[in-house]
């Protein structure tokens, strides 16, 4: 029994190390931007604002949230979902509908915080919207996953691919559904309510607070992911990923287990969608396209499928490259060598190259299950010790 407790202890301390790291990074960024940056000299300010601008960092947190949601579907249960962006969009529109003046013929306020002069529309409290966003995408997860998860997993890829195309297209063209304007078409729904957390109002441009809020959400998702992985459901998911037939022969109900993974992934997608809408203060249909699904998938794969901290690193690196890295490094190269290459336009070439290189040289991702590696090193130590004990006994 001592083996087990030692290993469990190692895994816990390892997770704890990462968690402390995450919290300190978030806290540092928050404190720096909220209190310190204005006192620093202008060069330092410029450096931070161009290389690590707070709005991009907050967006990275959203990507982490989305990637961890997809990780439960793809990384844990091994179900290929090619249309995860649909949940992002649906969650976003829930926020657009339930906390903005958009439905101007209505006037409904439930602990909401409408702006002055925009009291019409629907205004729910932000926490309620987060929950409702998750519930709404859960329903869609049931509609999509329910029938498809009974089939071979290849079909899930096809159906989700279609779903990921249909939902954004619907949002883009949903300005006249039987005479009702449901999504406001390409203009999207803007002017979301300010956030009122028990009296503390976070304005539209209060970036440090918003960053802190999405960081807490992402942190919660990290926590849930780790807890679920180490429990009964997590083991069943991994077993299905490893060998579906063997899993069912060991008493794991395939459909129900896959379904739980897909639904939890859907809920996280919805919550992420709401968080993103709140962050940018609106929801715009043209942001939700197929490429987003693929980028999230790349984050999961690059990070190391199924490994929570790996996915966090993968999402951070890829979204940073995507939003800042390409522009900044491109500028740096252009300025240094006097070239005029438009680096951001080569985004997908560079992404593709990165994926190919990763698949060639580091298939297991940035961080292959560190937990396992620690455990195995620990075991090896035990074996060595045992061997030396035995030789001692033999020599006696």
């Amino acid at each position: 029994m001592s083996n087990t407790s030692v290993a469990a202890h190692t895994a816990v301390t390892n997770n704890r190390k990462w968690a402390i790291g995450y919290v300190s990074v978030v806290a540092t960024i928050f404190v720096l931007n909220k209190f310190l940056l204005t006192y620093l000299n202008s060069d330092v300010q410029k450096f931070f604002n161009s290389w690590f601008s707070l709005s991009s960092l907050a967006e990275i947190m959203i990507w982490i949230l989305m990637a961890l949601g997809l990780n439960i579907i793809v990384g844990y249960a091994g179900l290929l979902d090619l249309g995860y962006v649909a949940f992002w969009a649906l969650g976003g529109y829930v926020a657009g509908w339930l906390m903005s003046p958009f439905f101007s013929s209505l006037q409904f306020n439930f602990f909401g915080h409408a702006r002055k002069g925009f009291e019409f529309g629907i205004h729910f409290h932000v926490l309620i919207v987060l929950i409702l966003g998750g519930c709404f995408t859960a329903i869609w997860g049931v509609i999509i996953g329910g029938p498809t998860l009974r089939l071979k997993s290849d079909y899930l890829a096809l159906v989700t691919l279609g779903f990921g195309e249909i939902i954004p297209q619907f949002m883009l063209n949903g300005s006249n559904i039987a005479g009702h304007n449901l999504t406001n078409g390409a203009q999207g729904i803007g002017g979301l309510d300010e956030i009122n957390l028990f009296g503390y109002v976070i304005g539209t441009f209060a970036m440090p607070e918003k960053f802190l809020m999405v960081s807490i959400l992402a942190g919660g998702m990290i926590f849930f992911s780790i807890r679920l992985r180490d429990g009964r459901l997590g083991r069943a998911w991994l077993a299905i990923r490893e060998d579906e037939l063997a899993a069912s022969m060991m008493g794991v109900p395939l459909w129900r287990t896959k379904f739980s993974s897909y639904s939890i992934g859907a809920v996280s997608g919805g919550v992420g969608g709401v968080a993103f809408a709140i962050l940018v203060g609106g929801v715009y249909a043209d942001r939700f396209n197929f490429v987003i699904s693929i980028i999230i998938l790349s984050m999961v794969v690059l990070g190391g499928m199924g490994n929570v901290w790996g996915v966090v690193v993968g999402a951070t690196v890829l979204s940073w490259i995507n939003s800042i890295g390409l522009v900044q490094v491109g500028d740096l190269i252009n300025n240094t060598f006097g070239t005029h290459v438009n680096f951001p336009s080569y985004q997908f070439l560079i992404f593709g190259l990165l994926l190919v290189l990763m698949m060639l040289f580091r298939r297991e991702g940035f961080l292959p299950e560190a937990r396992m590696r620690m455990v195995m090193q620990d075991e090896k130590g035990d074996v060595d010790k045992k061997v030396s004990d035995e030789t001692k006994i033999a020599s006696n």
Partner: protein
């Protein structure tokens, strides 16, 4: 061990057709409670198909399977498994990227209760359940003789250890019937002899009824109390090892017609 108490597993008139091909033709078969029986036959005799009918993986075209007197034909595979019928695989099918302990714990899925919320909150009940499951897993790993590799990835284990792990995983279902699909494939005669002892011990310790599908005749003859022989989808003989050894139809099936004529 007496063969009383009726059949643990009984198959009645099983027939399986794939298109026009009759893979299993009207085979009846039973595993008496607490016995060790074998299913043998030349390649292509329909052993594996029949095996898959027993475990619920294939639907028979006609016929029925009874587990402890209750019909299970058409039940979902996972229900049959958690109901007490466990199996191992001819070509080892472990969960490669999970530890040995986790492999065993997967098979306890149906005996555990924790849901999403209690797992996230790590309630007292959930922690207790996990602790009990871990201890049981360790007990089983010790029982099959690989207690030292608890936290090793299944795919990093040696071939012999992987076979043992498969048995430990099957035992975690707390089975009353254990089906072993060519368990000595890839073992040398020494290892096979050890395995024969192990199967007997398993039956006596855990009180399970065991069905073996086996190619290795020496293993079959040593360990089985009764043997059923399939050939071309049909049951051609059933009896004790001694009876089977001297059965002319069995000899014919294995050695061919001219072989049996030559022996006359």
């Amino acid at each position: 061990m007496s063969l009383d108490g009726g059949a643990a597993l009984e198959a009645q008139n099983i027939r399986v057709e794939f298109g026009g091909l009759v893979a299993v033709d009207d085979v009846s078969f039973n595993i008496p409670q607490g016995s060790i029986v074998s299913l043998i036959g030349p390649n292509g005799a329909g052993k594996t198909t029949f095996f898959n009918v027993l475990t619920g993986l294939y639907q028979p075209t006609s016929g029925a399977v009874f587990f402890e007197g209750k019909e299970i034909t058409g039940d979902p595979v996972h229900d049959i498994a958690s109901g007490g019928m466990a199996r191992t695989f001819q070509n080892i099918r472990l969960f490669g990227l999970m530890t040995a302990q986790e492999n065993v714990m997967v098979a306890m899925h149906s005996q555990m209760k924790a849901g999403v919320v209690s797992t996230i909150l790590r309630t007292k009940k959930q922690r207790h359940e996990e602790e009990v499951a871990r201890e049981f897993a360790q007990e089983l790993l010790d029982y099959v003789g690989i207690g030292g590799v608890t936290h090793e990835y299944a795919r990093n284990l040696s071939y012999g250890d992987q076979r043992r792990l498969e048995v430990a995983r099957a035992l975690a279902l707390r089975p009353r019937v254990l089906l072993l699909d060519e368990p000595t494939a890839g073992m040398n005669p020494n290892e096979s002899a050890v395995f024969v002892q192990f199967v007997r011990k398993l039956r006596d310790d855990k009180g399970v009824s065991i069905l073996l599908i086996e190619h290795d005749m020496s293993v079959v003859m040593q360990v089985s109390e009764r043997i059923t022989v399939l050939d071309q989808g049909q049951r051609i003989a059933e009896g004790t090892p001694a009876e089977i050894k001297s059965n002319p139809r069995v000899i014919e099936a294995y050695l061919g017609k001219s072989g049996s004529e030559a022996s006359k």
